[in-house]
Amino acid sequence: MEKRVEVKGIGSAEKLEQPTGPIAWLLTNLLRIAVALFVPILTFLGLYAGFIFLRDSNAPKAIVAVVAIVWGVGGVALLYTVSNWLVEKLGTTWRSRIQPFIFVGPAVAILVWYLALPTIRTLWISLFDADGINFVGLQNYVAVFTDRDMFTAFRNNIMWIIFGASFTVIFGLLIAVLADRSKFENAAKSLIFLPMAISMVGAGVIFGLLYAVNPNIGLLNAIYTSLTGNPPIAWTASAQIQPWNNLFLIVVMIWLQTGYAMVLFSAAIKGIPSEILEAARVDGANEIQVFFQIMIPSIMGTVITVATTVLIFTLKIFDVVWVMTGGQFNTQVIATQFYREYFTAQNAGYGSAIAIVLLITVIPVMVYNLKQFREREAF
């Protein structure tokens, strides 16, 4: 009898036994919430106490490091074990009511604390002035859309999206198609993929070296000065080439992200049934026609996925710009303006309004994801 109830629990087809009566219902839900919060809060308190202790002790760095890692990882694992052990002491009915919340609760609680609530809180802060005291309504938003610096930031973000996303898709697709026909497929793909392991800060240094003004240091200026005889150019800063100096920053992102696009396209191309391609070739289609009329339509879904991912990545771009130009020379983007306004200028309301604008720009993608999820109906 007991086992039959358990088997029910594993699937989602049948309905769970519902608590009867208002008191049982109330008790069940209170307990569920308590359990969902129990693990994270207790873990947090345990870790917190340990950290205060660790911080106040003057142990050597290596020991602190090891203790910290063991403390952090072990603490979380232990709490799950303990709370499960407690719940399994309960009767079958209560166990099946409470246990799911031990599994799911911590994740949901952390997501609520770190992402869901902050969205509402940031929205709230954005309605107040710099010190967060006086309610100013939508004034911060008016400022966001009328500020000249923000206008430049929006323009730059659009440049990032147009050039960054399109070149990432084009290069990714080109390399995937070429590699698919080459004997050196794996080696080539690995090397193109390599920048994905490099931080944007590191990439900033790599390209900073490439763009260096001194033609004895920067390869680009060495080529430019020897070809044209002109004096070297500060590629990311020069006033003469603005706003196209942004392109030199965008190149960094293309370099980083093409590997991602290539991997997805490569898998999609291999997924096209070879009979279709062969049939087209037998019917006399040349390679260009095969590419545009058969391959591209078959992998359109992947193209959209890649473009969307790069688009979101691009909207939030921060590190590259911050490290290479600090957002000066008209290279600022939404995320650097957010940092500048909130952390440098200490304007909480205005900074928050910029963050909300950033959120609004990704809402279409969020809606699309949710729609996809509902259509698949995995639940």
Partner: protein, 370 residues
């Protein structure tokens, strides 16, 4: 059959175009990193005076001889020195002999000059040094003068320390979200409870929320809790920001595990917790590995979260912060910047190349991180 015809090895002009274009693209992609790597092994002087590409064999002017200008030379007319002919002004700029292999340069003024003879010779870089790495990893010692006049010597924050900090931040920030997400994914996939659907919809919705939105409120909480600048604070932040993607990815995998295995385990009397530990975790190793690599690379390479939640405290600074700081304060010290950047890249590159298979699998199953 398609695979056999696709990669035929016999001579084929289109294959040369394909491989040639591919080679060009790969070289273009490697060039920037290669330049960094080469520069990091060159001395400060070499970096400032010649490009890293001069390590390749090339021809350049090498000074072979220097002597004083002969006293009997007519300095106002046209002179001939070692086969090169020109006026004083031309010699000042350098005159190349007729065969193009010798260059004569007049150094100093007209009366008391020196002649430099240069030969056009093959050369390539052979000056390699590890001193940049020694300087970056070890850090320098600083002497700080105290108000009372005494001097204390202090070790500057070094890249080695920052490397350790990066490890301390990254390892728990990778393991903790995986653990929490795996539990949650199992719960969503194989347990029945009210609110399951709405909670999972929240996970999907939070996938693309930009983390900038959370920085301000979380920072406020951290200031109240005294968590700012602690490892715990950074771990929790990375956990919070990585959890939506982790749960989503792991759910995708765990929910497709064969139902029969789980049900038979239940009939044998195993509890959810036992099933999770003994069956689900081992079976989902590929998915766990792919997310682990993602999160590892993401946290190791992160700059923004570290910048905000670690702040300026030098004893907990991670590598990306040290490098960014160095770009700001010593942007022209390329010998240090290149070595530092390479130190920060070495571990992710090793992880990446050894576990690339899992990483690619994760990408293909993947989604977008907020």
């Amino acid at each position: 059959m398609a695979a056999a015809t696709k990669k035929e090895s016999r001579f084929n002009p289109s294959l040369i175009i394909v491989n040639g274009t591919l080679l060009m693209l790969v070289l273009a992609w490697l060039l920037p990193t290669f330049g960094l790597l080469v520069s990091s092994f060159r001395s400060r002087f070499d970096i400032q005076t010649s490009g890293w590409w001069t390590i390749f064999p090339h021809r350049e002017w090498v000074t072979t001889e220097t002597f004083d200008v002969p006293a009997d030379l007519n300095r106002d007319g046209i002179m001939t020195i070692r086969g090169a002919t020109g006026t004083f002004e031309q010699f000042r700029a350098g005159v190349t002999s007729a065969d193009g292999n010798t260059r004569v340069i007049w150094l100093g003024n007209k009366r008391l000059g020196t002649i430099q003879i240069q030969q056009y010779e093959w050369a390539w870089g052979s000056n390699w040094t590890l001193s940049n790495y020694e300087e970056v990893l070890g850090g320098k010692t600083y002497e700080i003068k105290q108000p009372d006049g005494s001097v204390i010597t202090e070790q500057g924050t070094d890249f080695f320390g920052a490397f350790i900090n990066s490890l301390v931040v990254t390892i728990p920030s990778t393991v903790i979200p995986i653990l929490i997400a795996a539990f949650a994914a199992y719960g969503f996939a194989w347990m029945n409870f009210p609110g399951r659907r709405i909670m999972f919809i929240m996970v999907v919705a939070l996938l693309v929320v930009p983390l900038q939105i959370a920085l301000v409120p979380i920072l406020t909480d951290y200031v109240h809790l005294g968590l700012n600048g602690t490892f715990l604070g950074v771990w929790l932040a990375h956990t919070g920001f990585g959890l939506a993607l982790a749960t989503y990815l792991l759910y995708g995998y765990i929910s497709t595990l064969p139902r029969d295995i789980l049900e038979s385990a239940f009939i044998d009397g195993a509890s959810h917790f036992t099933i999770f530990l003994r069956l689900i975790l081992p079976l989902s190793m590929p998915a766990l590995a792919s997310f682990a690599i993602f999160q590892f690379l993401w946290v190791w390479n992160d700059y923004l979260v570290a910048l905000i939640f670690i702040g300026a405290r030098p004893d907990v600074q991670v590598l990306t912060m040290r490098i960014a700081e160095m770009v700001g304060s010593r942007g022209n010290d390329w010998h240090l910047l290149t070595a530092g950047a390479f130190v920060s890249m070495i571990l992710p590159l090793i992880v990446f190349f050894s576990l690339q298979r899992y990483f690619v699998r994760g990408l293909l199953a993947g989604s977008v991180k907020g």
